[in-house]
Amino acid sequence: MAIHNRDKFLSNLAANLGRPRKTEGVERPEYSVQPQYEVLKGASQDELIDVLEKHCEVIHTDFVRTSKQELPHVVRQTIERYEAKSIIASNDKRNAEYGMDQAYNQFAEELDMHIWDASIGKENQVIAEKADVGISFSDITLAESGTVTLKNDKDNGRSISLMPKSYIAIIPKETLVPRMTQAAKQIHDDHMNGIQTPSSVCFVTGPSNSADIEMNLIVGVHGPVNVTYIVVD
Amino acid sequence: MKVSLFITCVSDIVFADVGKHTVEILERVGCEVDFPAAQTCCGQPAYNSGYLQEAKKSMKQMIKAFKNSEYVVGPSGSCVGMLKEYPHIFKGDPDWEQPAIDLANKSYEITQFLVDVLGVTDLGSTFKGRVTYHPSCHMTRVLGVKDAPQKLLQSVKGIDFVELPVKEDCCGFGGTFSIKNPEISREMVKEKSQHVSETKAEYLVGGDMGCLMNIGGRMRREGKDVKVVHITEILNTHREGGIA
């Protein structure tokens, strides 16, 4: 690990700004306005779910709301709808709490079922690339934009939400916040409290898409073609 | 209330009627109008072309001309917008900064003056005809006058007002731009002319003779029969049957 050419580079910037170089003592100013906190201010969790559901239409995402008990069943239905034969899921601590451990065991009897396993290394990516469906939990869910936030780590590779043709996000109701503001603040506060920032934080909003050909919206380019959000009360 | 008319060079030389209508409207609402004869041009042709030193000579002349005025009112959003830039241009100049600020602070475009200063939104005018309005770029975006002209037009009795499609688009005038980049300017004004035709309006109204001269000149070249009139002309009309 190394840093090259820094002093010369930064001293030149300071000189052009007409002052000595700063390496400490800079505070962010109190900005004159903070409109980001006004969006969906004071909305209840249920109101946030309504906003999320409505926005799912805009982002070509299927929305299902269910209970903890019904979750395994709803996941199964979704997999059937996608006619999936192979599945990759994150090795999330919440799998047990939400009954997904059992569900995945059952799926394994009928389908190619793989739970992300750090011990087998790159093989996980190969499996993800071939899988029809990826399943993981949202860590923070942004109602305004219909976004699931995925903090990736050794048990939850980025490939799960990215490489299979379809992606299912399980959204615990309590992960809902008004917008990206609250997610960014949470990660910032964690950082200030000495909690390491994940090596990747993905804000995923529906399936991948492009408008690069004559401005026609094409859903499903490099990432998934289909996305389903399952909100769990 | 004493008001000095800032006629603008274009209206002084080419469109004297715009000045007459402006004077008559101001007098109708009880202003005492004078015309400082030492005024020339706001300096915009030179300023926008990058000739700052040349522009400043004309700007100083304007500052001197209106030194004793209480209010300065002109029939052009663009030219008045230029006066509003003077403080920025003379910033740090010990002799001219304060006079520049003084002039900027007392200068208004005519509809802005009527609505925002005098609180007049209905001049009791009558005008019969199908009218569309082009809100000039400098009037709306530089001077920030968006609502005043519309408010005044809507109060005119008998008017058949129709919105201009994509009205916020520039007409392609841009002062020296129209001469320096005639091909691009042509494409822009062709598009504007097309939008005016879509409204089927008999009259195209605006608050800046530069833009109107551009659009009108193009429409005439295209053989279109749309009359181009400054907003003061509509506001100063009291008869039915439109402009003779």
């Binding site: 401005m215 490099h222 | 002084d12 072309s49 990058g50």
Partner: protein, 478 residues
Amino acid sequence: MSVKIGEISYKERIDKGIDNDFMRQAVSSAQGRFRKGRLSQAEELGNWEDWRQLGSEIRTHTLENIDYYLHQLSEQVEKRGGNVFFAQTAEEANEYIENVVKKKQAKKVVKTKSMVTEEIGLNEALEKSGAEVVESDLGEWILQLDEDPPSHIVTPALHKNRQQIRETFADKRGYDKTDSPEELAAFAREQLRQDFLTADVGITGCNFAIAESGAITLVTNEGNAEMVTSLPDTQITVMGMERLVPTWEDMEVLVSLLTRAAVGQKLTSYITAYTGARLEEEIDGPDDYHLVIVDNGRSKILGTEFQSALHCIRCAACINVCPVYRHVGGHAYNSIYPGPIGAVLTPLLDGYDDHKELPYASSLCAACTEACPVKIPLHEQLIRHREIIVEKEKKSPVSEKIMMKGFAQWASNPAAYKLSTKVARTALKPWTKDEFVENGPGPLKGWTDVRDFPAPGKQSFRAWWSERAKGEKQNGNS
């Protein structure tokens, strides 16, 4: 490539743009959609001006302290196992990146769309050193196959139609299906998936680097940036030095402004903030990470009247409202940065010699300034450029100089001015017919080539005024 994209003259570029009906139709309809999207997002928020204000304050603060935040960023990246290289020039940046690629004996490099890598000509440099470089953004991939420069900073292949794209795919990759956008995109997905899986090195640009934690934020809709940052073991981020924010909270605000202003989306499909090399036991992400911070002429802009041009977040809102861009297209600017921001930035980064016409390619209608989500006074900066071209660079035409000298004398001398109001009509008489000039002389020629010019009235306003005053005086005396 570099900032400049070709050798064709300004006049030819303009004519070529204006004559390209397909391109103009495509640009016009894209602008319509972009504009509608941006305005409806602004309306929905209801306090868009506050958002712009906040965006502008964040950018101002960041640029005023850019040395501090770049220092902090580099410390954080190093702490997370990354290497940081500060490159003063394009050559330095390319050389460093080439060395990384060579050291890895990389055969294939896969990239995301990045303006700064276009600017420094990275692809050419890497190809010269023997590596295959694959652009993975759909639009960029199309252009790469067709060896065509981008014409828009968000949708780079905006100037191409589906038939042209189909032909390119057929010629270069043996594509044999229809020109439906869905089929074309599915083909690209299939082809590029293999590239992602086999690439040795991934290279991305950077939308916002977060100084406090060393995270790099990438904003895309296609998901290609996720592929590029997840799969290859070596990863290089190339960032223009100003693409920086102090904290996650600042990033969030600017991303919200970017996606709304660019395409009218609340957020794009993928926004990823990744930090350094992958952590222990992690599988996705690189084990060797490099951040290259590029100056390439930007530092000269600091401390000048153009500093706020560095606030740009590359949303293209100014491009999407510009009527000049609509009629001439992106290539007419002869720069990888087209439109209003391009007309401001290009001469700053690449000098006035090749780009002196750009600041004049604007009617100063200020639609760009109004659209900019971080409040860069773009049209005013174009005037500043013109002042430099006239006064410092002395590159304005002689005829114009004479005209402007004459203007100054005329407008600062009331007697001369008054005289002109008297004689203007007579002076234009030889060219006047039915109260209009249709074929004007001198500077009027450009005007009357495309439209009529009204003849000066029979009486100037000031003549009318003094007659009226006299009349009133007489009436008063009688």
